[in-house]
Amino acid sequence: MSFPWAKEYTPKAPVMKWIDDRLPLPRFVYNAVGGGYPVPRNLNFFWNFGILSGLALVIQIVTGIVMAMHYGANDLVAFWTVEHTMRDVNGGWLLRYAHANGASFFFIVIYLHIFRGLYYGSYKAPREMVWLLGLVIFLLMMATAFMGYVLPWGQMSYWGAKVITGLFGAIPVVGEPIQTWLLGGFAPGNAALNRFFSLHYLLPFVIVGVVILHIWALHIPGSSNPTGVEVKGPQDTIPFHPYYTAKDGFGAGLFFIAFATMVYFAPNFLGHPDNYIEANPLSTPAHIVPEWYFWPFYAILRAFTVDFFFVPAKLLGVLAMFASILLLFFLPWLDTSPVRSGNYRPLFKKFYIILLIDVLVLGYCGGAPAEEPYVMISQVAAAYYFAHFLIILPLIAKMETPLPLPGSITEAVLAKHAGDDGLPVKDDEPAVIATGDETAPQPAA
């Protein structure tokens, strides 16, 4: 499905026509990421991060598959095989550093992608399904990253696995049996390492599947845009190719420059030194911390220090940590403001900035040792996190008077260029105003 003015695929080469007649895959690709997908003309660089996330996923799968050829998922040799990859496999150091830093970069672009969606209201109707599938991808990523970090079988791998599976032990009555069942033993060991490797290899392909659904769901209403005003006619859109492929190409270049700088010049900067020590069940590291991308959630987990009557603090922490992600699934129904873009929501914008700082503070506290004052800071920050989504957002939607919205994307673009004397907006096709898009948000004022 697409806009009625989307260009139709007309194969030029006979071979493409032959294929397209029998299996319309070229048509499918053309309509998904080619000239057949009309996209709002005003997307800014924050719209690059979807493609960049896909790129990061491909980097992880390619480097991961090759590394798996040199890895032994056995607690006796896992650490050794990783070192073997680093020392004796041709280009093995590059594979491993690219894979380890690739995980970090995947999370960097995903977090930017999510915060783009939060600011521009991309989760709102009619794109709820895009948002929900995105969250499923995020959860799968977190599981994959966690299990991948266990595979080198260093100290942080081992103790991270112990702490995270220990979270299930906090569940009353059935917790400990569940933990034993998950690990295949009473503590992380060969059984756990083997199943983590198996799942770490499986889940990325599940992610690929959900990514396809995510993009499919996106193509039903089409991409959102910085004004949050829906596309009203052909003058509002341009074909994905060549315009956004060119823009994404430039974005990918910047991504690769940042990525290569880390991989080649600071490959261990984002890692923890303790993971270069072999796993030792008899020696607990001084500070067990997960990788940086889990720090905000780790801070929420540790922020609960007081039992709630018969509910132990540890269980509260576990519930809150899962709730902090699960609540995002309800976001489309919590934020009822009809205006999507934060650009036209003055009050929302202020709280959004507070949320951004709040999550950074949570991240900082999650990486710090569980001492004061970090615990107190993370308690306040975690309190704001929950209040922001569950209390403040619904209230803002009721109270706020949004700024007047532009009549259309084209109008917004023209207003931006009002002082220019450049080329006019290309609208060689007749403008189709009011295409019957009743879901387009109207300013409340």
Partner: protein, 281 residues
């Protein structure tokens, strides 16, 4: 309904967190955490510069050879280097014959199985062997070292914060326990058989000062004086190499990759501007 439920959940989590915060803050003010000797006397590693610092830094092969000599004559008696093979020493500038000789003459023999009887035996090393371990197992290592197992050194420079500087600081950081520490923390006297070193995480370690005097190792002609400071620097450079043997390949490749990427990105930028030239956005 969703929003009402969310409101209650939000109220519960945020409210309980704020209550926890208040209780924590009261405890923080009324019963301040007592400081520990580790907290007050532990030092972050000294600043020390190496030839391999920075994005373009390279190993100094002469220094690596000196550091290898220190490892061989001082560290190897207790510390294994199990991820490194004799053949890897080619990166230090040794030729094939020299490596064969080093492997053959290594004081520790390589464990093997007697080809005639099948009994466990030892033989001389060959270049493809990894450095033999000084102890048969952890029990033997602990028994010989006052119950502390000397860690493998292959990855030490990456397994500690500020690895290279940490090793150098630890080697040169041994001293008597400060009087101030004993005054403030009378219970923290260094136990018998341990040695005080402020760069070690818990201040006391089982390893006796390994580099105890200048000239402990005799360096070849044309090399710097083997002072404790120089030996510490050299061995720390050597252990950086054992932890990151491909560092030079990595940095050289990085320069080429960045050069390529910057040009490619500039071209991508120009085509982006060119394609968008007729569009307002």
């Amino acid at each position: 309904m969703v929003r009402f439920g969310a409101f209650l959940v939000g109220l519960f989590f945020s409210g309980w967190l704020l209550i926890s915060f208040i209780m924590g803050a009261i405890a923080y003010v009324t019963e301040p955490a007592s400081p520990t000797a580790e907290h007050e006397f532990h030092l972050t590693p000294k600043h020390v510069s190496f030839s391999f610092d920075g994005p373009l830094g390279r190993y100094d092969k002469q220094q690596l050879q000196r550091g290898f000599q220190v490892y061989k004559e001082v560290c190897a008696a207790c510390h294994s280097l199990k991820f490194v093979a004799f053949r890897d020493l080619a990166a230090l500038g040794y030729n094939e014959a020299e490596i064969k000789a080093i492997a053959k003459d290594w004081p520790l023999k390589t464990p093997d199985v007697d080809p005639a009887t099948g009994e466990i035996s030892t033989r001389d090393g060959v270049p493809s062997d990894h450095f033999p371990k000084p102890f048969a197992n952890n029990v033997a290592a602990a028994a010989a070292n006052n119950n502390a197992i000397p860690p493998d050194l292959s990855l030490m420079a990456k397994a500690r914060h500020h690895g290279s500087a940490y090793i150098y600081s630890l080697m040169t950081g041994y001293k008597d326990q400060p009087a101030e520490l004993l005054r403030k923390f009378p219970d923290s006297k260094t136990p018998e058989g341990l040695y005080y070193n402020p760069y070690f995480a818990n201040l006391n370690l089982a390893m006796a000062p390994p580099l105890s005097m200048d000239g402990q190792v005799t360096y070849g002609a044309g090399q710097p004086e083997p002072t404790v400071d120089q030996m510490a620097k050299d061995v720390s450079a050597f252990l950086t190499w054992t932890a990151e043997p491909k560092m030079e390949n990595r940095k050289s490749a990085g320069v080429a990759v960045l050069f390529f990427l910057i040009i490619a990105t500039a071209l991508a930028y120009m085509s982006y501007r060119n394609i968008w030239a007729d569009q307002k956005h």
